[in-house]
Amino acid sequence: MLHYLLNRLGQSLILLLLVSMIGFAVLNLAPGGPLSQFALTPGMTREAMDRIAHQMGLDRPLPIQYLDWIWRLLQGDWGKSYRDQQPVLQIIGSHLFATLLLMGTSMVISISLGTWIGIRSATKRHSLFDYSTSVAAMVALSIPTFWFGMVAIYVFALKLKWLPAGSMYTIGNASISDYAIHLIMPSLVLALVDIAVWSRYMRSSTLDVINQDFIRTARAKGLTERTVLMKHVVRNAMIPMITLAGLQLPTILGGALVTETVFTWPGMGRLFLDSLGYHDYPVVMGLLMFSAILVLAGSLVADIVVTIVDPRVRLG
């Protein structure tokens, strides 16, 4: 096990280095730069832009800029944003909370509800429940989140006035209940699609298991239907779900761009898009490295959890 982990760690470090090089190159070779947004400003001159670029060190050769960046990173310095001069880790941290709150809530809702619907549809195959949830899932998957979010705001905020139209909390009056009220609409809108996805996966995974010989054996030895379901069917059907959940982990970093935009939620998705639009290289690179680490960690954790849930799997 230890050998296996060390091996994985070594591979991961090389992978991270490659990711950083490719990311840095692609980002810097893309046209424009942190100063291009000032090009049409009245009175802005090329001379002034060149001067500021020089002061920011943007006119140095690319490999030098990269080495400078990675050298600082190895010393624990993730750099500072070009946009607001805040340290990169602090920026990621401040947006991470908003995203974790939103995505965490939504994931709890979608995984629990999705799993339940999936199992029930599989065990009651061809029932009204199965058909109606299948149709509902298809509808949910086809509705663009943006549209659904706007409709939800129209109905619940504009017409019924039950819920706030957006934001994470009321500025100047933030309490736990205030956060909770603001969380309802975005987390449900975000969960809608995910419930559909999880229920479809769970349904087919359960169906795979339910027709296997060992299930028939379990029934044959006189176990109650409930025990068969919980101990044998669900436990086996969950295994692919764990891998899936592990791979979902890094998407948290990407945030829920559309939902965050519609509900003015200050999360990672907006941060990423804004930083990219501004060519805020330190923050974009920070996000890239952070998410690469999460991808590697996520798949490692998923592999380990699978060995715990499924004794048949051995690492090494």
């Binding site: 090009a39 090329r46 500021i52 905020a157 699609v193 761009l257 559309v258 003015t264 998705g269």
Partner: protein, 555 residues
């Protein structure tokens, strides 16, 4: 799991937004709004309540001397003061200076070289320290400091011998007369010496993220990606403030911003305002005040004057007559922008209203081209002396309205035997070297030609200001006219507005005749705020709506 991305959300760049949010105005402006000053409170001012202003870009730069965008200015206006500022009529009104220096009152010598500015007494920084002439000196010195990432040195680099005569008086000498300097000073916020200029590295001073000014509002906090909160400054020397908690909320999507305006979460819709397609609905909303406000950006069809196709003035005139401006404005821009013949905003003191009016007349185009000797070649495209009348037209890719404008124009041109190929580029490419070094044939672009209220356009029209010819500036047409150069020199050294006006009226006349760019229209935007908030009024001479935020108040 992540959302699926949607192209509605692609954040428009400032350029795209200029045209997306294109609006134009009938010229009917806000007749019902009280003018600045009339709302002055008779008794003691009461500071209370909360007000939310929304911007579709996030303000992130709080040191007003570092490179920043309009929405940053929006916050600066609340925190800082300049020596004097510019009102909607283009007049200067005193700020930290007790009177605006002019030739008349002896503040500026007749040759424009000697300056004397008297400062207001008893003004305090938000941290309680007194404001003095030393702060003004330090600010003007910081702007030209070689180690400082200064936003703009123009004008400031001519200042010599800054002398603090007393805590309330400062004098200096200009290296040469520079008439735009008052306008530049009007947009130069004064920053505290003890926090910024005294810092070891002003580029990374703590001040940059916890600004301290003399303005009507004090810094409270910033929640990155969400909002900025300021509080009313009870010690403010001027009119106002009347709001206790001022919130600048970042709402990245314009549809969402409009919805939150409707639900009442937003009190004032800031940049980039209400999209033109919502104008009809917005003006009927209960409890909201919605207006069309002209901006200072002028949309033009711009030529690269070094291309052989465009050297012939007849071609430029013919192309102008072949553009159906009014249909473009009505059909694609919801009728909001105002057609124009000049680069100068029509609200400007320096605007020339007597320029020849454009007429859409294809027969005239045909006639002009024929007389100039352009004849159809074997492929049906006009040619003269081996030059085919064929060129590319570029603008920001993804700007759907402009793309439709191009297609519309392309069709008219084609009927005349002119081949225009549309070749649009992503914003970073379009407005990079391609634009700055004149690598285009023609471009559709919205430009703000003026710095504040000043009519000087040397950066744009002077023959030495084009990047492609090694100059520094934005003369990307590569326009060169010795007469205009001479007039720009003359106008830049005159300090009496009426005398300057004659010069710039003439320049507008020449530009209308030479047509290095075809002026299409002046943009206007749809702005809105809740009923019962007074003094939210536009000012074409500044970049952002919050120029008078000190006086905003709930009725």
């Amino acid at each position: 799991m992540t959302d699926r991305p949607s192209n509605i959300l692609t954040r428009p760049t400032r350029r795209q937004a200029l045209s997306l949010v294109a609006l134009g105005a009938s010229g009917v402006i806000l007749s019902g709004l009280p003018r600045l000053g009339e709302a002055r409170a008779a008794g003691a001012k009461t500071i209370s309540g909360q007000l939310t202003v929304a911007f579709s870009q996030e303000p992130t730069v709080f040191n007003p001397h570092m490179p920043h965008i309009e929405v940053d200015d929006g916050v600066h206006f609340a925190l800082f003061d300049s020596l004097f500022s510019v009102d909607p009529e283009g007049k200067f009104v005193p700020g930290l200076a007790s009177e605006v220096p002019t030739v008349e009152n002896g503040g500026i010598s007749a040759d424009g070289l000697k300056w004397k500015v008297k400062l207001r007494e008893g003004v305090k920084w938000h941290d309680g320290k007194p404001f003095t002439a030393d702060d003004v000196k330090a600010t003007l010195e910081l702007l030209v400091d070689a180690n400082f990432r200064s936003w703009r040195k123009t004008g400031h680099d001519l200042v010599r011998d800054l002398t603090v005569v007393s805590p309330t008086e400062i004098t200096w000498r200009m290296d040469k007369p520079f008439a735009p300097y008052p306008s530049i000073l009007a947009s130069t916020f004064i920053t505290p010496k003890h926090l910024l200029s005294a810092s070891a590295d002003p580029n990374n001073a703590p001040f940059n993220n916890a600004p301290v000014g003399t303005g009507p509002f004090k810094w409270v906090e910033r929640v990155a990606g969400d909002h900025i909160m300021l509080s009313g400054n009870p010690d403010y020397y001027g009119d106002g403030p009347y709001i206790d908690k001022l919130i600048f909320k970042y709402v990245p999507d314009l549809n969402v911003m409009y919805t939150q305006f409707k639900t009442g979460d937003i009190d004032v819709v800031g940049l980039q305002w209400i999209t033109p397609d919502h104008y009809d609905e917005a003006k009927g909303l209960d409890g909201k005040v919605v207006n069309v406000v002209p901006g200072s950006t002028v949309e033009s069809f711009t030529f690269n004057m070094e291309r052989p196709q465009f050297k012939d003035p007849a071609v430029r005139q013919a192309l102008y007559a072949a553009i159906d401006k009014q249909s473009i404005i009505d059909a694609l821009y919801y009728g909001l922008p105002t057609p124009t013949e000049s680069y100068m905003p029509q609200q400007s003191f320096y605007f020339n209203p007597d320029l020849p009016k454009h007429e859409y007349d294809l027969a005239k185009s045909k006639d002009l081209l024929a007389k100039a000797g352009w004849k159809p070649g074997a492929d049906g495209i006009l040619a003269k002396d081996g030059v085919r009348l064929a060129f590319t037209c570029s603008t920001t890719a993804g700007n759907h309205i402009r793309e439709q404008v191009q297609q519309y124009i392309q069709q008219s041109f084609k009927d005349l035997g002119i081949e225009m190929t549309i070749s649009n580029l992503p914003p970073a490419v379009m407005w990079g070297d391609y634009w700055m070094l004149s690598k285009f044939d023609s471009v559709i672009v919205g430009l703000d030609f003026l710095t504040g209220s000043d009519p000087d356009t040397s950066d744009y029209f002077r023959s030495t200001s084009s990047g492609a010819k090694g100059g520094s500036g934005q003369n990307n047409w590569q326009y060169a006219n010795p007469e205009v150069d001479a007039l720009l020199d003359k106008g830049g050294a005159l300090f009496v507005p009426e005398e300057r006006k004659a010069v710039y009226v003439k320049i507008q006349e020449i530009m209308r005749k030479d047509l290095p760019f075809l002026p299409l229209f002046q943009y206007a935007t749809v702005r809105g705020h809740k009923q019962g908030i007074d003094n939210v009024s536009p000012n074409v001479n500044v970049r952002i709506d919050t120029w008078n935020i000190a006086t905003w108040r709930r009725a």
